[in-house]
């Protein structure tokens, strides 16, 4: 076979983001110099985004197996067993760069992409979450970005009819030039009906379904693998525009087809579009694929093979079908008014062969494209250890005044303005709405429910990446536990700066180390994830942000508790040890303008012991409300419980430690619970070796410090609710 088009040059390779070594490696694999189209395919397959070349050696360290794990990382999404023949399928993915350039479409297509990863595997999506990080509220771009991203996530999720039930949203100047938009989808399938992506059966037809291909986002994957610079905004590829309506039809059509036995393999076209989907399917099956690019449905004229292969147009899927079922599939896709085209076939050649206008335009070996992708063990340096901070050495502020300032600060202010723009109720199973520790979503036709949350505390990760990595996993585990669910598995989204800088690589490596320890200690395996590197502008990187998305299970949704105080006269108990750790606390940052000290230690044994205790108490019906203690410390947790319930409390700090440390320290492994009588709970805690201390009693319409100041719940609510809407109205 002769391949048309002249050989490509090293210069072109560099423009595509390939190094000289990588170009040479491509030539060696080909046995000749690749042409332009082939080089384009190498460059996207070997981009950081698709090949994980900087991160793979580290990701391997994460624990990915467990009794519940049906399918770990490597497929479109992770799959876990949730009993009764049901499986939960979930993953998180970033759309950081596109969202910075065009916030609405960037965020919208991020949601679309992660939904496809999940329904590709045969799951009906039942919940979305989103973890957002923006720059300083004072930065001139921030408001516009928040507005666009929130509209985009809502615009897409609301239209496809999947509830957006949770997430998080922080602000920090390190994200001024690189916001983070991480979207997570959770789907539900029968564990006997899961669909994978490995091609099989030489001769089987390769089918293209969904929307037509345009020139959108060409080289999006390589863009996601490069730093921003002054001029990158002008070099951006055509913006991808999402079409949630088409996605909704695609979900319904795919799930309808999945009822039959037609599908041999299926893969969504995500980053690097037709290239990565066809190469990955063939690669996993150890086979080859032939595509006739004339048959690819296009919406623009005169598209070149390179453009067709690299387009990142949205709402498209690639499938391999049993030949005798192709007609059935065509009928289903026509019913849903979607494009359907047979564009090629599976071969046993092990090669990717592309033809157009009757000529071969690319012919390359599939195996080496995947297995011989470069892998780097990049040099890394550990982050310097920071000293601890004793509360005694930190200025004390009157606690109520400090509380007022903290509940209204951007990171702690209510995010209601965001989640009220998301349909969090559609499908009719949202038992716990946004605003609590974890969302609780009941499974259709069952008593049981999933608990879902996303977490990361980037300032901890920056100060001590290992501790920060462990803390993110632990806090997520705690949030799931706080509603009464058993945490089962996580997905992650590793957002970091430029891995070619040893200190950034160090953040990455050490975060993984911390995550690994926490996952092992908490029986919380990683089943899917995503890496987003090069989140830097002109050499200044983001705070390291390894976001954890967790899934837990509760057998009876009616047993889940919320954080709201339920009635007056109940005893408020703090679980876990409070030492008054103020290093890296919000108290330090918001009141004293200091971002220093080491973050709170993560004692994984205590985390486990305390969490298992709290969960058992919830399931036994012994507590009426529960909230984990995290950002802002104990007094913030109490205030949030009071605001949610519209009921006050009188609380007291012990005499033997500084009050500001007690109320605002961010020690880990802690919860606040309420109960009608504390004796049994305290005894059980003592027996379980779990620290527990009565801190007060619910009642009244204010949060009152015994012997000190008070603030009405109404004023707290006003302070907490007002900031974001007021900021966005400016």
């Amino acid at each position: 076979m002769t391949v048309i088009d002249p050989p490509a040059t090293l210069d072109q390779a560099r423009q595509f983001g390939l190094s000289e070594d990588e170009f040479k490696r491509a030539c060696r694999i080909m046995g000749r110099t690749p042409n332009f189209t082939e080089l384009g395919i190498f460059s996207v397959m070997w981009s950081e985004h698709c090949s994980y070349k900087s991160s793979k050696v580290w990701l391997k360290k994460l624990p990915t197996t467990g009794a519940r794990v049906i399918c770990g990382p490597g497929e479109n999404a992770g799959v876990i067993d949730i009993g009764d023949g049901d499986a939960a399928i979930f993953k998180m993915e970033s759309h950081n760069h596109p969202s910075f350039i065009e916030p609405y479409q960037g965020a919208a297509t991020g949601v679309g992409g992660i939904l496809r990863d999940v329904f590709t595997m045969g799951a009906r999506p039942i919940a979305n979450l989103n973890a957002l990080r923006f720059g300083s509220p004072a930065h001139p771009k921030t408001r516009h970005l928040v507005d666009g991203v929130v509209r985009g996530i809502g615009g897409y999720g609301n239209c496809v009819g999947v509830p957006t039930v949770g997430g998080e949203c922080n602000f920090h100047p390190s994200y001024n030039g690189n916001i983070l938009v991480n979207a997570m989808t959770v789907g539900l399938a029968r564990s006997s009906r899961i669909f994978y992506s490995a091609a099989a059966g030489p001769g089987n037809p390769v089918i293209y379904v969904g929307a037509k291909t345009g020139r959108d986002g060409i080289h999006g994957a390589t863009m996601a693998s490069a730093e921003f610079s002054e001029d990158s905004e002008s070099k951006r590829p055509t913006v991808q525009v999402g079409d949630p309506f088409t996605e909704k039809l695609l979900i319904e059509a795919c799930l309808e087809l999945m009822e039959s036995d037609a599908i041999v393999a299926i893969q969504d076209m995500g980053a690097a579009g037709l290239t990565s989907s066809s190469v990955e399917m063939a690669g996993k099956g150890g086979l080859g694929i032939e595509l006739d690019l004339d048959r690819v449905p296009t919406r623009e004229t005169a598209m070149s093979p390179y453009e067709i292969m690299l387009s990142e147009s949205q709402e498209r899927m690639l499938m391999i079908l049993k030949p005798e079922r192709a007609e059935l599939a065509r009928r289903i896709f026509e019913k849903w008014e979607l494009d359907f085209a047979v564009i090629g076939r599976v071969t046993d050649s092990g090669r990717l062969v592309l033809t157009m206008h009757g000529q071969t335009v690319a012919d390359m070996p599939v195996g080496p494209l995947v297995t011989e992708a470069p892998l780097y063990e990049r040099p890394w340096t550990p982050a310097p250890a920071l000293p601890g901070l004793a509360a005694k050495g930190v200025a004390a502020r009157e606690p109520i005044a400090a509380l007022k300032q903290l509940v209204a600060c951007p990171d702690l202010a209510s995010k209601r303005w965001i989640w009220e723009q998301y349909d969090h109720l559609v499908m009719g199973h949202t038992v716990q709405r946004p605003g609590g520790d974890a969302a609780v979503v009941r499974l259709p036709g069952r008593k049981k429910a999933l608990a879902l949350a996303t977490d990361c505390t980037p300032r901890y990760c920056a100060a001590d990446p290992k501790r920060g990595g462990a803390q993110a996993v632990a806090e997520n585990w705690r949030n799931i536990t706080a509603v009464g669910a058993t945490p089962l598995a996580i997905t992650d989204n590793m957002n970091f700066g430029n891995p070619e800088r040893p200190e950034i690589m160090g953040q990455f490596a050490q975060s993984i180390e911390g995550m690994r320890e926490a996952c092992l200690a908490l029986d919380y395996p990683v089943v899917s994830g995503n890496v987003s590197l090069y989140n830097e502008t002109n050499g200044s990187g983001i705070l390291p942000t390894p976001v954890i998305g967790g899934v837990g299970l509760i057998d009876d949704a009616a047993k889940a508790v919320t954080l709201a105080f339920k009635r007056a006269g109940e005893i408020v108990v703090a679980i876990g040890e409070t030492t008054g750790w103020l290093g890296q606390s919000l108290y330090l940052r918001e009141l004293l303008g200091r971002e220093d000290g080491s973050p709170p230690p993560v004692d994984l044994k205590a985390e486990r012991r305390n969490g298992d205790f709290v969960r058992a108490q919830i399931l036994a019906g012994a507590v009426t409300s529960c909230h984990d203690v995290s950002d802002g410390g104990l007094l913030i947790a109490l205030a949030e419980m009071a605001m949610a319930g519209g009921i006050g409390a009188t609380v007291a700090a012990p005499q033997d430690q500084p009050a500001h440390g007690f109320w605002f320290g961010e020690d880990q492994a802690r919860y606040v619970v309420t109960c009608r009588a504390a004796d049994a709970l305290l005894q059980a805690a003592q027996k379980a070796n779990v620290p527990a201390r009565v801190v007060g009693k619910t009642g009244g319409d204010a949060l009152t410090l015994a012997g000190g100041n008070a603030i009405s719940v109404a004023e707290l609510k006003h302070l907490n609710e007002a900031w974001l809407p007021a900021y966005m109205a400016q």
Partner: protein
């Protein structure tokens, strides 16, 4: 009572209303794809919430002109109750079954939250189990729920007692804050002259299960079950 739920491409709250109807009547509602040639016999026709045709052009416009709507209109004329919820309300107004239109919320944003509604009439198959003046709490979830009609139409609706629900405060008072989407005269739902067609923006179907926060929507489906038994 046999209900039929009509599905358009982009409908997405059909399961919610299906479950609420089933809970109230014990009977499985039928699902009818908009291109199915005939509409089965039914005691109630429901056009559920969602984003039919992506809400592109104008919410509800494309669905309103699909062939099945001719049959729905014919049934409505013979007295069959037709219920349009949220996107369904937009569709029945676009189809001319109810007067007025739903414009974009005055905030230009999607709202998903619980609201209070004052039941304005118990004189319909949808509201007979409520008392006029009763306040109920149910969710809304829409981007275009800002009811608009000219003054004469509004006067006529009010004069003939065709306003079924209004947005209100928890104490039943009508005020501007409670009417977040900016609807004319705080209208959340209206009936046609024969009182068999109802369109409303809020979602009573999402307030029928004690686990999900409110059961105030149960009366709505109990009314239907009783009236159409």
């Amino acid at each position: 009572m046999q209900a039929a739920i009509i599905l358009f491409p982009g409908s997405n709250r059909e399961q919610d209303v299906h479950d609420a109807l089933k809970r109230a009547t014990g009977k499985e509602p039928l699902r009818v794809w908009h291109r199915d040639s005939d509409l089965p016999k039914a005691d109630l026709i429901v056009i559920p919430g969602g984003f039919s045709y992506g809400d592109y052009l104008r919410c509800g416009a494309m669905a309103a002109h699909s062939p099945i709507m001719r049959e729905v209109k014919a049934r409505a004329e013979t007295g069959t109750p037709v219920l349009g919820i949220c996107n369904g309300f937009q569709i029945v107004t676009e189809a001319g079954l109810l007067p007025g239109v739903l414009l974009v919320n005055r905030t230009l944003r999607f709202h998903c939250k619980d609201v209070h509604l004052r039941v304005e009439t118990s004189q319909s198959v949808y509201t007979r189990r409520y008392n006029a003046g009763q306040v109920i709490r149910v969710p809304v979830a829409h981007h275009d729920g800002n009811y608009f009609a000219d003054k004469d139409t509004l006067d006529r609706l009010e004069g003939e007692g065709l306003v079924a629900f209004r947005y209100c405060r928890s104490d039943g008072e009508i005020d501007d804050d409670a009417n977040a989407n900016g609807s004319a005269r705080a209208i959340a739902g209206i009936l046609n002259e024969k009182r068999n067609v109802l369109g409303l923006m809020p979602h009573p179907e999402d307030a029928t299960d004690p686990l999900l926060g409110s059961t105030d929507g149960q009366g709505f489906f109990a009314s239907l079950a009783e009236a159409l038994a």
